[in-house]
Symmetry: C2
Subunit: 430 residues, 2 copies
């Protein structure tokens, strides 16, 4: 069962949760002086309107008409009741998922990529740079920039560039220039190439390259796909739509579930509902952030100041972290391998508004296969973490005979991750 909104119901504002923080976010610190960093410093790599949104205390921020027009290519996204999955689990619970895989790049990422491309365009920027691992974020930014006539330059971790050509092709098809990182376009890249001409790269190096390129040219800016406040803001369109869809059904979720890498898809679904918990309207809703045991940022990390990147170029930010030098094992949910988490998400977790749990790769793929065989859609390995938690909650409801309502974010499809499913089916998954 599916709830579709008409395009007239597309939300016209994003929801900014900052005014509802129990205390102001600890400010980013200069790594040398340990003094708070002025937002002005951010203007080196981000345009004005993005920096404004990063620090805004306005609850509602209008979505520009030009952004809405591109959103309309796939939004509003469907809210679906997973009737077949419920039946397979024989649970009295109702399971709903918000499906973000309907976007052309196949995930929630374009919700922010389109907004960022637009704000850069109106700020006179000509070119955006970014990094990408497996290509989920890079393909979303390539997709977005083409609508606004911006150049897009993507630094793709060389190991992925060589092993996973499909997303690289997708980026090129959407007009982006994709470089295997380390590349010889940047000082940072050349340093690593000198040590090893076949260097496999890392997300940290790719970030350094993308930022270096943005710093050396006034008309070039940098774009980030998660973690920062403005990214989470843009993703709230997910939760705003879901809320409206549940209102149409006359229901409200008891559990809200999302996987967490940097935190943007989780926050996008959760924050519009979290407001109701904070204000006391819906005090009992449970929010579950799901991560891999291979990168257990919330469940095992420390809440402290740390670098956002691996090489130490960014300001220090207060977040749950496994340490900027933490290198998670190469799991298939590449999007969940970040050592830290979004500061906004971390603040609410710290104040116990949000719970967290972690799963092993095998149980996650097992949940993904069950979902594919009941609901028909193959979840991205990242999103399968949320599927797994939704299943566990539904089974708990079965045990307790409770008719609870579970809502999770199916943040993307897994049609570019089929070789991982193949390994799982063949029993050779690490």
């Amino acid at each position: 069962m599916k709830v579709l909104l008409s395009q007239d119901d597309l939300p016209r504002v994003w929801f900014n949760i900052s005014p509802y923080l129990p205390e102001p976010l600890p400010p980013p610190l200069d790594p040398v002086t340990r003094e708070p960093v002025s937002p002005v410093k951010l203007l080196d790599i981000f345009p004005d309107p993005i920096v404004e949104q990063e620090v805004s205390q306005e609850e509602w921020i209008p979505i520009p008409e030009e952004v809405l027009q591109v959103y309309a290519l796939w939004r509003p996204s469907p809210l679906v009741r997973a009737v077949n999955l419920e039946r397979a689990l024989d649970t009295p619970a109702q399971i709903y998922y918000k499906y973000e895989g309907v976007s052309p790049p196949g995930s929630h990422k374009p919700n922010t990529a389109v907004a960022q491309a637009y704000y850069n365009k109106i700020s006179g920027v000509k070119r955006l740079t970014t990094e990408t691992g497996a290509g989920q974020w890079g393909s979303s930014l390539a997709f977005a920039t083409q609508f606004f006539g911006l150049e897009c330059e993507v630094y793709m971790v060389r190991a992925s560039y060589n092993q996973k050509p499909y997303r690289r092709i997708l980026m090129e098809l959407w007009g982006a220039k994709v470089y295997p990182s380390p590349s010889d376009n940047t000082k940072a890249g050349r340093t690593f190439l000198e040590r090893d001409p076949e260097h496999p790269g890392s997300l940290g190096i790719a970030i350094s390259e993308a930022i270096e390129r943005a710093l050396e040219d006034k008309s070039t800016k940098y774009s980030l796909g998660s973690v920062l406040n403005h990214v989470l803001l843009h993703q709230t369109i997910i939760g705003l739509e879901a809320k409206r869809q549940m209102e149409i059904l006359g229901i409200y979720p008891d559990y809200i579930v999302g996987c967490v890498g940097g935190g943007s898809n989780f926050a996008g679904l959760a924050f519009p509902f979290l407001k109701d918990k904070i204000t006391g309207d819906k005090p009992d809703t449970e929010f579950w952030a799901v991560e891999p045991t291979a990168c257990p940022t919330l469940t095992k990390g420390e809440y402290r100041y740390d670098y956002g990147d691996t090489v130490g170029l960014t300001p220090l930010i207060k977040m749950y972290t496994l340490g900027a030098d933490f290198v998670p094992p190469p799991i298939h949910a590449g999007g969940l391998r970040y050592h830290g988490d979004a500061p906004l998400l971390c603040a609410f977790y710290h104040h116990r508004y949000i719970k967290a749990c972690a799963y092993d790769q095998k149980e996650v793929f097992s949940a993904g296969v069950l979902f594919a065989r009941t609901e028909g859609i193959v979840p991205a390995p990242e999103s399968a973490h949320a599927v797994k938690k939704a299943i566990d909650l539904a089974l708990e409801c079965k045990e307790k005979k409770e008719k609870k309502i579970i809502l999770f974010n199916l943040s993307g499809h897994g049609y570019f991750d089929l070789s991982a499913y193949d390994s799982y089916l063949k029993g050779v998954l690490a």
Copy 2:
């Protein structure tokens, strides 16, 4: 701009165009006696309700509730106005596409796969067999059978099995057993393997294997993804939805465009509109069937009796054909490489209700890239043929300053065909 129907608007009947034929379809003939084949013979490989639909003269055939429930996972599919493409072409024409790539297997094929799986299930069948080339049809049948607890056995052309693992994995993920063909499961397969243990296979051999398996076991039946009347019938849900969506907009198409391999996606969109041309309500609508120059069945074939398969197992059917032994070059639009076409489509083409044109692979990919860069969606190479014709019609309208309305079927996405786009972008496409 997108027109979405609510699930309450999902059509409850399929449209059967047979009563509107200018003359009855020439009957299938026994290849030896040249006598008409009784429909009863079809019961060896198809269940009762399918054979009934194959020969039905009822205009409206109810869609079973169980089929509607599975359709609801992705249907009604969106009708989209390609505003960005119109702008890029600077045309006064309006271009609309019906997007069938929203189904989990990514094409229109599950519209019939789900119906066929259901009818086999209620007829006591335990297992369905089929053949597949690149895997588009096989993955749709795998997807469909899992909802009805049927086993699914797919014979996949060995060359594709080895070179294109993604759709093979998708079929296995949805619970199917996939065998590279020729296999040692069948007499036909073993014959070819004896000659060459590494035989690359062909669709003709794979059909023989799938049919042989269906003939040797009462509880096993065979399933075909195009060409036959009942397949085209099930696909009419596309056109019925599109008609309703255009009614909401208060418009009616001047041109209706679809690519043609066996003819099912074209017929699915076109037939509900074609009725209006036949009855004289809309005499001026133009219907365009688009094929590759590499396999120009309608544009260069002869209208005569021929075998449906390559090895000559099927009855002789009257259709446009390039000859059962015609081997088209290996183009990327694998779904358009059939030597014949659906008898229903051929009859209407013969009586000049439908026009046909053919394009080269390169111009088709060029259209696909333009579409991806304006509308965001990467078309399947098959569907890109329809995109190309829609673009050409829009440019004609520009020249003639005509505000015509163009509707085409975007029958599937190209996310499993990115290596073909890569070849095109690199300029190495054959």
